[in-house]
């Protein structure tokens, strides 16, 4: 059946409810809502959440925005925590301690801090051990919960509170880590990079595939942050669009080692268009800083070309 956003939203009530306290214009809540809509309505889910914006804004005792079972323990261990839950499920199912006809799916949410950085060991361990779970990184490119500090997901030159655009050092001086590729290096059955774009079709379909592929699967989802990136809250979807259309954030998936780029812009936009609306890149547009935009563009191009090659190579018979 063809994807229709109106039908999906109408047929499947949100399992992440309103009343949570995330910021207006934050990219994470629509991502969480849409991913959970990819669950079959009859299936139960256990959600694990790393400490971060999403967690501190969605489950403040005694209120929760999650209608499925939910567990938060600490910052760096959503992967390990959920692997314990999944191991319990396996063990109890095997022993007949849980009803045969019930199915539970396991989904972890972590920001880039809890995933790229402090939680990468726990994530890597959980994926390598083959737990049947989907780990979702909502990547907003910095430690937003503690006040916009740089992470290894922060793009080069971005102005953050621990990589400020100073008079000597103009922002973060390192390129971002490619976590999607690191996860692919675990040889998982399904790895994908996506964003809330084009009526959420890409996001929804990848979530469904990830959740219902047996074994460990990983989704890296772009989740812009109005406070950290510095865009007007109503421009969230425009920012998502520009990230994809400039090939800064390619939409692609890897199924059992085969790459598929799900969206190739007919006309790749210059990366300036993605950078310009964001306060964190304001200093790139000062006179004399043209080299920074140029360097940024070169890095985007280099990674996009590499991805095209990977797609070509992995699909060769």
């Amino acid at each position: 059946m063809a994807y229709n956003v109106k039908e999906v939203v109408a047929d499947k009530p949100s399992r992440f409810t309103s009343g949570h306290r995330m910021c207006a214009g934050c990219g994470a809540p629509p991502v969480a809502r849409m991913i959970l809509r990819a669950l079959k309505p009859e299936d139960h889910a256990v959600i694990a959440n790393a400490t971060g914006c999403m967690e501190v804004s969605s489950f403040i005792y005694p209120y929760t925005a999650w209608t499925d079972s939910y567990i938060h323990t600490a910052f760096e261990c959503a992967g390990a925590t959920l692997s314990g839950v999944e191991a319990a499920y396996k063990s109890m199912k095997k022993q007949g301690k849980l009803p045969d006809d019930e199915h539970t799916k396991f989904i972890a949410f972590g920001g880039d801090g809890g995933t790229y950085d402090i939680g990468i060991q726990s994530l890597s361990g959980a994926m390598e051990r083959g737990h049947d779970m989907t780990y979702v990184c909502y990547d907003n490119g910095a430690y937003m919960n503690t006040g916009i500090q740089r992470s290894s997901a922060t793009p080069k030159f971005a102005d953050t509170t621990t990589s400020p655009a100073g008079s000597v050092i103009p922002g973060k001086m390192q390129s971002r880590k490619d976590l999607t590729e690191i996860m692919e290096a675990h040889h998982l059955p399904y790895v994908a990079q996506t964003a809330a774009y084009l009526n959420f079709k890409d996001l929804y379909e990848k979530a469904e595939k990830a959740i219902y592929t047996e074994g460990p699967t990983f989704l890296n989802v772009l989740a812009p942050c109005p406070r950290g990136w510095g865009y007007p809250t109503e421009d969230l979807m425009q920012i998502n669009k520009l990230a994809v259309e400039t090939c800064y954030w390619p939409l692609y998936e890897i199924e059992n080692g085969k790459y598929k780029i799900n969206y190739k812009p007919a006309k790749k936009l210059p990366v300036e268009e993605f950078l310009k609306p964001q306060r964190r890149f304001k200093h790139l547009f000062k006179l004399g800083n043209e080299w920074m935009i140029e360097e940024f563009q070169n890095e985007v191009d280099r990674r996009w070309e590499a991805l095209l090659k990977l797609e070509e190579m992995s699909n060769k018979e």
Partner: protein, 394 residues
């Protein structure tokens, strides 16, 4: 009747775990507890248990996975030592705050640094305020028995706290001793099934666990943990009574060895109690009224009961196998002496730091402590209460 066996402390712990047959075990190897997950994964791979063994990539993940499993509705166990427990530390607190009755076998070893793999109690002392019930074991038999009692205590609805069973690294973990095991069926019946009230895998009642808990409620939640720790005291005694009926082996908060008429007494934990008993016997032969109080239950700390048991003594030495580096004395010492103060017991008491990093503690050294105590009891006061036992002379 029990089964007579010869097992090391680690084998005893692994055997107890096999008989308990937990749903999930998540562990990471670290000397001297490594053998426990080794033996246990053999039981798993040979189909002797129903357990899912999660071979995690670190101790932090071991405790995280145990928390996830226990929250899911399963019985989860782990084993570790020293730096492993240090790495877990964050999750150790979270486990107790989530009121998850996880059971851990802690094979005590010196915490770095510098690096040392041998026994002292600095690992356990580092988590003494973490909200875990802490049982100490003199022998392999006690390590086994404490583990069999663990779930009945931890899972009691008035308690719902995690529990760790401590034993001395190498000294008991790697020494083979005679041991009396229970039959599998008897263990199964004694430990019983685990039926948590609320758990993640209950589709009929989804639950959210581990909230952001701010000024409005955290204080009350901490109070509930404190209440549970107080409740644990009676439950520990009740379970011990049932265990005695089953095995004939008697357990309380502590063991009093020739203490009732003693004039001088040592307080200590774990295997050193064995050495001390030997010394007590030889001193008694010489007419010296020496006694021992061996602490089994360190958390909750039985301050009132210990104070009462020591009230008649003329001088006490508390032996700590870890220094608190507070300029005062070891943790057991400060707990015992503050307990005495609160309970109106005034006995000259001194702190001995001993056995750090696996330094052997001989009967001669224990004798020297009793000798000091005789002096102290004559003087009726303590001049230098913060002492080190068994330091190199040069």
């Amino acid at each position: 009747m029990g089964i007579r066996e010869r097992l090391s402390g680690n084998e005893a712990a692994a055997t107890a775990m096999k008989q308990i047959n937990p749903d999930v075990v998540a562990a990471f190897p670290i000397t001297p507890s490594t053998e426990i997950p080794q033996y246990f994964s053999t039981f798993v791979d040979n189909g002797q248990v129903d357990t899912e063994f999660v071979a995690v990539e670190s101790e932090h993940s071991a405790m995280s996975a145990c928390i996830g499993a226990e929250a899911a509705g399963a019985r989860a166990m782990t084993a570790t030592s020293a730096n492993g427990l240090s790495l877990m530390w964050e999750m150790v607190y979270i486990a107790s705050s989530m009121r998850l009755p996880i059971v851990m076998s802690l094979v005590n070893r010196a915490v770095s640094g510098p690096l040392n793999i041998h026994n002292d109690h600095s690992d356990a002392m580092g988590v003494r305020d973490a909200g875990w019930i802490m049982l100490f074991s003199e022998t392999n038999q006690e390590a086994y028995d404490n583990l069999l009692m663990a779930h009945r205590i931890a899972e009691n609805e008035k308690v719902l706290l995690p529990l760790m069973v401590c034993q001395d690294g190498f000294i008991t973990s790697h020494s083979i001793e005679n041991i009396e095991l229970l039959e599998d069926a008897k263990v199964k019946e004694f430990v019983g099934e685990y039926h948590p009230k609320h758990y993640l895998l209950n589709k009929k009642e989804p639950i959210a666990m581990g909230p952001m808990d701010l000024q409005a409620f955290l204080f009350e939640h901490k109070y509930q943990q404190a209440e549970a720790m107080c409740n644990a005291k009676q439950v520990i005694l009740d379970v011990a009574k049932d265990f005695e009926k089953l095995t004939g082996r008697k357990y309380g908060f502590f063991e009093e060895y020739k203490l009732d008429d003693a004039e001088i007494a040592i307080v200590c934990m774990n295997s050193t109690a064995g050495t001390t008993k030997e010394v007590v016997d030889s001193l008694r032969e010489k007419g010296i009224k020496a006694g021992l109080l061996k602490v089994r239950v360190f958390r909750p700390f039985p301050a009132e009961e210990i104070s009462k048991a020591l009230a008649h003594v003329k001088a006490v030495a508390v032996l700590d196998k870890a220094d608190s580096l507070n300029g005062v004395g070891g943790a057991l010492f400060t707990d015992v002496t503050s307990g005495m103060q609160v309970n109106g017991v005034t006995v000259p008491t001194s702190s001995y730091i001993y056995g750090i990093g696996g330094r052997d503690t001989t009967t001669k050294e224990i004798e020297s402590v009793y000798k000091d105590l005789m002096e102290d009891s004559k003087k009726g006061k303590i001049e230098n209460p913060y002492r080190y036992l068994g330091l190199r002379k040069e």
